[in-house]
Amino acid sequence: MSDDLLRSSQLPGVTRFQWQQLLGPIVVIVVLSYVISSISITFTFLTEGTLALLVMVLGLQVFIGNSGVLSFGQAAFAMVGGFATGLLTVPVKIKENVLDELWEPLKAINMGIWPSLVIAVAIGAFFAFLTGLFLMRLSGLAAGIATFALLMVADNVFFNWRLIGPGPQVMPQVPKFGFVDESIILAVVVMVVVYLIGISRRGRLLRATREDPLAARALGASVWRLRVLFFTVSGGIAALSGAMYAHHSGAVSARDFYLGFTFTTLAMLVIGGATSMWGAVVGTIAVTAIGQVLLEFESGVTLGGIDITLPNGARGVVIAAALVAILIWRPKGITGGREFTLRLPFLNRP
């Protein structure tokens, strides 16, 4: 693949562990989350939702960014995670009343949020491993289309099979997180995992396969094994994101994780810069901020005595235009695909 977007401008030697690269993004996320969620209940809700999206974008980054292979299928694992945690935590009585066609053993199960999250991640990673064994034989466009086909299969199954969920309806009464702290802790854990696995030996080998598959093979790297490993990790993280979303909104349905979700998270990754963890963080923050400002404008804002009301749909237009503009003028994303650094990026051009 000769794609700028998926290539790092950092030399491989720069990927040694540096405290600032890990702590910088974490400090930014923790501080922003607490400041914004302290404004009002609406903003607390927004912060939790954004943290769930951030985890998804990090999950995309760990696979797409490191391997250079495009995947449209990660939302399928978010779906798996959201449904798994919903089925494990929704009270038995609600399941009996609302989800009457559910498989009997699933009706009887009930547990707390934390053990359920662990199981949801395990199931998501398991499915990613299973599908990855086959899908990771492919690369380039074939991989893009095959992972897209995976999303279609997952959507079709979850949307119709009432033995394992609500079908086209919504699964209600999923227990919510009590505080914003839980989402923050989970996001920070994922950031640490994504950063460490990215600079690990296998992470660097996978990036080598992204830059030059033939040379990497000559070094003894099995492209397929490395991709399956990272696809599995990415699937587990995506499942966690789906589960966080379910416990944030208190409900979950198949269409929460379809094309719109896939587009938003992919746009966040590309706008921020796909080849670094910091890129995923910046992209998530930037797209959420643009979206929030435009949402205000859609409901009407008075600026300098003039009432401005943007039509519904303006948000999508601007975010899509931003994505295309970034691809044209800054294909490596806002961060240039680099990790966090205290030096200003424009003084640091190689």
């Binding site: 693949m1 977007l5 495009l70 289309i145 299969v153 749909g313 295309v324």
Partner: protein, 290 residues
């Protein structure tokens, strides 16, 4: 039984037309154009909005308008991404697609617009005890005419020859004097014309149009283009036909389980990709080595 076969042929023809539109552009610039669906949608909107002017004028406006939008995409976005790889182009076209969907929502509203384009197409013809919908026959005829026309254009005209040359080896074709921007522009115009034809059939069947009108068929046609063999125009049309015919047959044979049609279809797609990553009719130029 006859209706089943005719349905499969007409679905196949329709998806073949959509896939050929995507395949034309892919051939010359390695762009898998997600936004083809929004070309189909604008065609449908133009049909519904202008149908009061009479069908011939409405067809003229819809075809021209769709071709202009296709050229506009090329000039405003894809022309600036000539050096980008296929993955970047794919994501960019995803962006263009969402951009246009939201744009239609602003202009035409999120709710469906309805209108009768060609009411005579919904009637049925009876042969003894079998009834055949007129729409499926019109679709088959239209698909045959357009596929034949495209075949003539691609095989027998100079511009068609240049498109074929650019499809099989873009750099060499340029070196030999093929004017690349003109060829790419032509490919976009023809993909717009094909999108308008697909829009005509779909909008007469459904009788309404909304911002997401073209998404479904585009996803399926795109998959058809890929499994048919990227970079080969016959492969694209054949792949689209295969996907359309498979959907139609699965719908008939799955009976009560027809809601799972897409599950089986996309599992088949994944299997085809695993067995033949280059597509059914593969082109050496697009093979990637790993």
């Amino acid at each position: 039984m006859i209706q089943t076969i005719l349905d499969a042929l007409s679905y196949g023809g329709l998806y073949g037309l959509a896939a050929l539109g995507i395949g034309l552009v892919f051939g010359v610039m390695r762009l898998v154009n997600f936004a083809h669906g929004e070309l189909i949608a604008i065609g449908a909107y133009l049909f519904i909005v202008t149908i009061d002017l009479g069908l011939p004028l409405s067809i003229l406006i819809a075809v021209t308008g769709t071709a202009i939008l296709a050229l506009l995409m090329e000039f405003s976005v894809f022309k600036r991404l000539r050096l980008a790889g296929p993955a970047v182009l794919l994501i960019a076209s995803f962006g263009v697609s969402v951009f246009l969907q939201r744009f239609y929502e602003i202009i035409f509203g999120a709710l469906p617009l309805s209108g009768q384009i060609a009411p005579w197409m919904t009637g049925v013809i009876e042969f003894g005890d079998t009834t055949i919908t007129r729409g499926s026959i019109v679709t088959i005829v239209l698909a045959l005419i357009l596929l034949g026309g495209m075949w003539f254009f691609i095989e027998k005209t100079t511009l068609g020859l240049q498109i074929r040359a650019a499809s099989s080896d873009f750099q060499t074709a340029r070196l030999l004097g093929v004017r690349s921007n003109r060829v790419i522009g032509a490919a976009f115009v023809f993909s717009g014309v094909l999108a308008a034809a697909v829009a005509f059939v779909l909008v007469t069947q459904r009788g309404s149009v909304d911002p997401l009108f073209g998404v479904n068929i585009t996803i399926l046609a795109l998959v058809g283009t890929v499994i048919g063999g990227l970079g080969s125009l016959q492969g694209a049309a054949l792949g689209g036909f295969a996907v359309g015919a498979t959907i139609s047959l699965l719908n008939s044979f799955l009976g009560n389980y027809r809601v799972y049609t897409y599950t089986w279809l996309f599992i088949l797609v994944i299997i085809v990709l695993l067995v033949r990553p280059g597509g059914l009719i593969s082109n050496k130029a697009v093979k990637e080595r790993v």
